[in-house]
Structure formats: structure tokens, C-alpha cells
């Protein structure tokens, strides 16, 4: 038998209810896009054409929930970023996948070109004076830090990470898949140990739904979002339903006009 002769199938797609088989097929298509986005990131223009990007793709309820909870934990560490972390955690839950992109050279192997981005100097002294090194080989083994990121970082490398993120976003945009980059998602991913060789990570929320989960956000979005609205509706309707109780098999409520 020709090996392709049974090649046939039916695939139904529907984004509701979430995580139903029809929705999982849709999510799988988004995940495939996210994988292509990673390739876009790797082929982005970079100083000297040197590989410096690592990626991590997260999808599925458990992975996204863990990431969102880490973001919510960060919400209570800095007043200025409280809402950012809370709102963007909702976006992660509402997404189909998260692509984390990190630069593994921005701390350990700088570009060494004296570009000026890190410290405004025509050499790399601002960077090397602030990191332990021997003959310019940076010792990164002391991972204790008072800040989430052990800066300063090589600005040229960080800039290159921007190009990688840009190409990933461009590819998503070209396929009409919604994607936006976030500091908060990257910071939570870093805290969870993803992209382990990268000192700075950008988190890209990726979704293929009717409504882009990352834009047109309501005030107090962590309290007023689709997941909450649906859950509260369940709570409200069930109670509202059980109070006017009757046996539908024997009687039905009549309009007043009908009763007369």
C-alpha cells in the first residue's frame, strides 16, 4: 500500500472553551509559529554575525500558570511595577505560548568594541571595572546579586538581543499571530531558571485568538479580565438559577397576561 494512501483527516478549530481539543489544535499551530519565531531570532542581524541568543518556549496551562505566579510574586517587590506585573501575568494566562529570548554573551563575553552604550566611554572600562575578571575573562560564577540582573551588561550585546526579539516579532506579525515583548515576563523566566546562560531575558507573549491578549487593557486588569469575568459569571448564574426553583416537568411560569 502506498504509505500516503490513508492520508486524510478532520481538524476542528475553536478557541472556546479554552484547552478543549479544538482549542489545543489551535494552540499547537501557535506553538509552531513560536518555533519559527525562534529561528527568526537566530537569523537576525547581529554584530559580527556571532551567535549569542538562547531561547526557551513555554506552553500549556501548567507552564504558563507557573510563570504567571512568579510574575505576581514580583508585583509586591516594587511599587512602581506592581500593576505591570499583575496585568501582564493575566496576559500570560490568556496567551497560547511564551517565547523567552536571552543573550548569553552580554555578561560573560562582551563585544569589546568600546561602543559607549554601557558607560559613555570610548573603551569598555565601565563594564570591566564593575565585574571580576582575569585578563578580560569575566568570572560570572558568583551569582549572588542585590538586583535581578547583574549589571552593567554589554550594551552592544543587549542591542543585538533587541534585533533578535525584533525579528521574532516581525515573523509573528507577518503571520498575523499576536506577539509582544515584555520585561516582566523575561524577569520571571529568569527567576525560574529559563535561558540559564543569559543575564537578560525578554519574554514574548504569543497568541492566536480573536482578541490580542496584550492590548486594550482594562483598569485593574488583574481583577477585570476574561478569566475572572467567566468565573464570576459561573458563581452568579448558578445562585441566580437555583433560587426561583420549580419542577419543569409539571409546570412552567406564565406571563401575567397568560395567567389572566
Amino acid at each position: 500500500m502506498d504509505k500516503y494512501s490513508p492520508f486524510t483527516g478532520r481538524e476542528h478549530y475553536h478557541e472556546w472553551p479554552p484547552y478543549s481539543p479544538s482549542d489545543l489544535r489551535r494552540k499547537e499551530a501557535v506553538v509552531q509559529t513560536a518555533r519559527q519565531m525562534l529561528i527568526g531570532a537566530l537569523t537576525a542581524p547581529m554584530a559580527g554575525g556571532v551567535s549569542q541568543i538562547e531561547g526557551q518556549l513555554l506552553y500549556g496551562k501548567d507552564e504558563l500558570e507557573a510563570l504567571a505566579r512568579k510574575m505576581e510574586a514580583f508585583a509586591y517587590e516594587n511599587d512602581r511595577t506592581e500593576e505591570i506585573y499583575k496585568y501582564e501575568a493575566v496576559m500570560v494566562r490568556d496567551s497560547d505560548a511564551v517565547l523567552l529570548l536571552g543573550d548569553y554573551r552580554c555578561l560573560e563575553t562582551p563585544l569589546d568594541v568600546g561602543c559607549g552604550l554601557c558607560g559613555g566611554r570610548p573603551d569598555c572600562s565601565f563594564f570591566y571595572e564593575r565585574h571580576p575578571n582575569r585578563f578580560g575573562m569575566v568570572d560570572t560564577t558568583d551569582r549572588r546579586s542585590d538586583t535581578p540582573i547583574r549589571g552593567p551588561l554589554c550594551g552592544a550585546r543587549v542591542n543585538d538581543l533587541g534585533y533578535a526579539v525584533g525579528s521574532a516579532l516581525w515573523l509573528a506579525s507577518s503571520l498575523f499571530v499576536d506577539a509582544r515583548p515584555f520585561m516582566s515576563v523575561g524577569m520571571a523566566g529568569k527567576a525560574l531558571g529559563f535561558c540559564p546562560d543569559s543575564e537578560i531575558i525578554v519574554g514574548i507573549i504569543v497568541a492566536g485568538k480573536a482578541k490580542n491578549p496584550c492590548v486594550d487593557i482594562f483598569p485593574d486588569y488583574h481583577l477585570f479580565n476574561m478569566e475572572k469575568v467567566v468565573d464570576v459569571s459561573r458563581k452568579q448564574f448558578i445562585t441566580a438559577r437555583i433560587v426561583p426553583s420549580y419542577d419543569y416537568r409539571k409546570w412552567r411560569p406564565q406571563n401575567k397576561v397568560e395567567e389572566e
Binding site: G114, G120, I149, G151, L169, W170, F182, M183
Partner: protein, 287 residues
């Protein structure tokens, strides 16, 4: 009506540049605060940038390749259109306190940057890393737009830095040049403009300086011979790091030449902006 496609394509590059600039401005931002601007430079206005690249190309290989490509296409009357991309990255308004800049808080970063801001070999600094990312994303979108329109292009720090030194787009700290075209396959890669302009010996000497371990003989003795010719064992040579006042003097001479060229054109460039006000959007920086 008949059109020369080559001529039409050359004129079209300005429209391509507009498309790329639109993509630059449309690109997603992480911070929402990064101030950026762009300008399209064509024809004779390219010359001061090319002239400045000239001296720099004598001490820097990648600049030489860019300079020769610019100059040969300019001399042939078929230059690229240069999209100049710029951003101010030197303050943080976010208060994220991530530490990527090397300071514990954005407030400390801003205070240091206000007192110690300066210029590197390419750009100003210090910079907020999240704004650096924003700028990278936007520049990538400009280049991607050109790629999508099938116009050869290359992200360049050198042409951008020279334009910044000339005074283009004042009030910004980082500059990128994005030459668009001239139309054709592989203008800015595998460069035909460099044919006949360097020898195999020069290429090997470049590799020899940049990757010396590639030419090392047996290293077990602790001081390996260097394979610097086909019969390298007959003229034993060893690697050594030496200070070179001559090389540094050459760098100083080149910088003086570039500064002089910039000074020649800067007043004319400044006149383009005499009515422009640099946006004072730093009022809400974290203090």
C-alpha cells in the same frame, strides 16, 4: 511611455526608506518611553558621511568594507538611500530597578548619567538596557521591512555614528545607518565593490592578527611557534603582545581628521535643525 527600470528603482528607494521608517516607528516597544527619530539621507547629502568614513577605513576593516561600498556606488552615480535611525537611551523613566545598567535603582542610574554621560567610539552613554532593547527591536523592523521589499540593506553602526557626529538628529544618543540599495543581489554582502581592492596576503594577515591561535604550532612547550609561512619552522616566530604607540598615534590622527571633516559640514547640518526643538521629555525621569 517607457521607463528605465534601473532609474525607477533608484527613485523607488526613497519610498522603500519611508516604508522602513514606518516599520521603525511601528515596532513594538518594551518600555513605551523610548524616544526615537529617523531621517532619510540621499544623493549629495551622503558625501560628508562617506568622507568621514574614509580616514576611519584606514584603521578599521569593517569600516573599510562599508566605505568602499558607499564610495564606489556613489562614484558610479548609483548610491544607496541611507535611512538614519536614532534614539535617546540615556535616562530611565520606568523605575524598574532591574540592575542591568550596573546601578541598584533607576534613580541612581539617572543621577550618574546626568553627571557622567559621555561618548564612546560609536554612541553616547550610559544607557538604559530596556531602551537599548527597544532601539534594537525598532532597527530590526526597519531592516526587516527592507528585506520584505527585497531591497539589499545592512545595519551599520559606522555610517550612523558618522551622521551623529555631523550633528544629524540632535538630542539622541545612539545612531544606526541603514543603507537601502542600490538594487541588486548582494550589494552589502559578498561585496563586489571590494573586488581587486585587497590581496590574499592582506586577508591572511587580517586572519593572523584576529585569530592567532589558529596558526599555533605544538602548544605543549608553553611557547608555541607560529606558523607564519609555508616553511614556518625555518624562521621560528612567537606570539607576543606589544604596546604600539604608532598604532595609537594613527588612531589619534584619524580621529583628528574625522573631527575636522565633521567641523567642515556641521554648521550646514545644524542649519537643518535650527527651528527644531529637541523634545524635553525627560521631565518624568525617575529622580
Amino acid at each position: 511611455m517607457r521607463y528605465s527600470a534601473q532609474k525607477a528603482c533608484a527613485e523607488h528607494l526613497v519610498d522603500v526608506a519611508k516604508h522602513c521608517a514606518s516599520a521603525f516607528f511601528k515596532a513594538p516597544r518594551i518600555t513605551g518611553y523610548t524616544r526615537m527619530d529617523a531621517e532619510i539621507i540621499t544623493g549629495e547629502d551622503l558625501w560628508p558621511i562617506i568622507e568621514m568614513l574614509g580616514p576611519l577605513s584606514t584603521i578599521n576593516s569593517f569600516v573599510r568594507w562599508d566605505y568602499e561600498t558607499f564610495k564606489s556606488t556613489y562614484d558610479a552615480g548609483n548610491p544607496p538611500v541611507l535611512l538614519l535611525l536614532a534614539a535617546d537611551l540615556t535616562r530611565s523613566q520606568m523605575g524598574w530597578d532591574c540592575g542591568a545598567c550596573g546601578f541598584a535603582t533607576c534613580k541612581e542610574f539617572n543621577a550618574y548619567a546626568a553627571r557622567n554621560g559621555g561618548t564612546g567610539q560609536l554612541w553616547g552613554g550610559p544607557s538604559c538596557n530596556w531602551k537599548v532593547l527597544d532601539f534594537g527591536i525598532a532597527c530590526d523592523w526597519a531592516a526587516a521591512a527592507a528585506a520584505q521589499l527585497k531591497v539589499d540593506n545592512r545595519i551599520q553602526a559606522d555610517s550612523g555614528a558618522m551622521a551623529g557626529m555631523l550633528g544629524y538628529l540632535p538630542g539622541h544618543s545612539a545612531f544606526i545607518g541603514l543603507p537601502l540599495g542600490p538594487v541588486g543581489d548582494l550589494v552589502w554582502y559578498s561585496r563586489e565593490a571590494m573586488h581587486g581592492k585587497f590581496s590574499r596576503e592582506e586577508a591572511m594577515a587580517n586572519m593572523f592578527r584576529c585569530c592567532p591561535t589558529h596558526f599555533g604550532a605544538f602548544p605543549g612547550g608553553g611557547n608555541p611557534l607560529v606558523k607564519n609561512s609555508e616553511r614556518w619552522w625555518e624562521t621560528p616566530s612567537f606570539n607576543a603582545a606589544v604596546q604600539s604607540p604608532q598604532a595609537m598615534a594613527a588612531v589619534g590622527q584619524v580621529m583628528a581628521e574625522i573631527t575636522a571633516i565633521a567641523g567642515k559640514y556641521a554648521p550646514e547640518v545644524a542649519r537643518k535643525y535650527q527651528d527644531n526643538k529637541v523634545p524635553a521629555d525627560l521631565a518624568d525621569e525617575v529622580r
